[in-house]
Symmetry: C5
Subunit: 98 residues, 5 copies
């Protein structure tokens, strides 16, 4: 599992029926230094994540283990909105603070 920040959205009308009704969000990797890494991925949302939030996502077949994503043709899902990230006693991220 990785931490990431929600930075955008993907909209598609012509798609597999099994993706109907699911939000597709663009994520950028969240570094432990608080900076966003390079690259990005697109993940389904199972928890109502919003733009700017730091989230936890998982990939592969595990991405189909939430109620929302069972049997979906998707290899990444957001399954938690992060409150706190703590490393070596230091709070690296806390929701609502910047």
């Amino acid at each position: 599992m990785q931490l990431a920040q929600v930075v955008g959205t993907v909209v598609a009308t012509q798609k597999s029926q099994r993706l109907d009704g699911l939000k597709m969000l663009i994520l950028r990797p969240f570094g432990l230094d608080g900076k966003l890494g390079s690259g990005y991925l697109v993940a389904l949302d199972s928890v109502g994540a919003g733009l700017g939030e730091v989230v936890l996502y998982c990939t592969g077949s595990s991405a189909r283990q939430t109620e929302a994503t069972k049997d979906r043709p998707a290899d990444a899902v957001i399954m938690a909105i992060v409150d706190t990230v703590e490393v070596g006693g230091d709070v690296k991220y806390q929701k609502g603070k910047t």
Copy 2:
């Protein structure tokens, strides 16, 4: 899941029967800066994607979760044709515009 642009095709007559009747397309990674990344992959098409279109694909066992790709020996499938990509309030891609 990743965004990519359809740039080519692969044709093969000598192949697993389970690939019969499926189009195999060559994809190059689509960057959020609108440029294509290096590298490429081959994906099955489940939505009628055409050359030049920006698509969403997924990999691994999730690639077998569309009607078209169930039980197929394939680890990548296109399951959406992208209309809009929006990041940080900016439209990074819109279908039909260049």
Copy 3:
């Protein structure tokens, strides 16, 4: 499977119900030279691992093969706390020594 050191924790209240009651730990890769590599990942804990311990984790669908993580939307799990790492006759790591 990879070796890693437990360096931190992630807390999230808004999450998939299937993650309830599971500790989410931050791991950094453990090199055979005894140094931590760059990057990190978040893994579920199935063995009661603590901060600073060197652990073994696995990823993908295999991460759902412990009693604790069956059917969970998680792609990484700690399934062993390491006692000894030996390479080419040299002990590279021994629990309790630094």
Copy 4:
């Protein structure tokens, strides 16, 4: 899925019984510029591929979806011998031509 060229073979007598009777081929990645990339992998053959041929392979659980590789402990399989690779209107590879 990726394109690759068959460059060699691996022979092993002491192995999982479930690998009996299957050819193990060494593949090197095939670039769209017609050059072989660095690195290599070993794949099971399900289509009678020969040395020098350009093939399509897939990885992960999808590699177990051919008749030949069902339930095998193998994470890569060749499931097509490529006739033509076309990118942007140019034929990048055609079987039988060099």
Copy 5:
């Protein structure tokens, strides 16, 4: 699948019960030039591999397809001890010769 050399062992007493009785070996990637690559991984052994031997391993769910590793929380397994590696007509490795 990849070739690797067995270079070490990992011992852990506090672990998932499903790992009981299985040897955990440290592997380093084996290059076609006969040199070991950087990095390493830990794999379960299903064939009685010994230190110094060149082996074939696979990863992901396929690692659970040997008799020894069924339902185990492990994402890498050694399923063959390599006798010969041949590339482009040259023997790159032969068991028992150095």
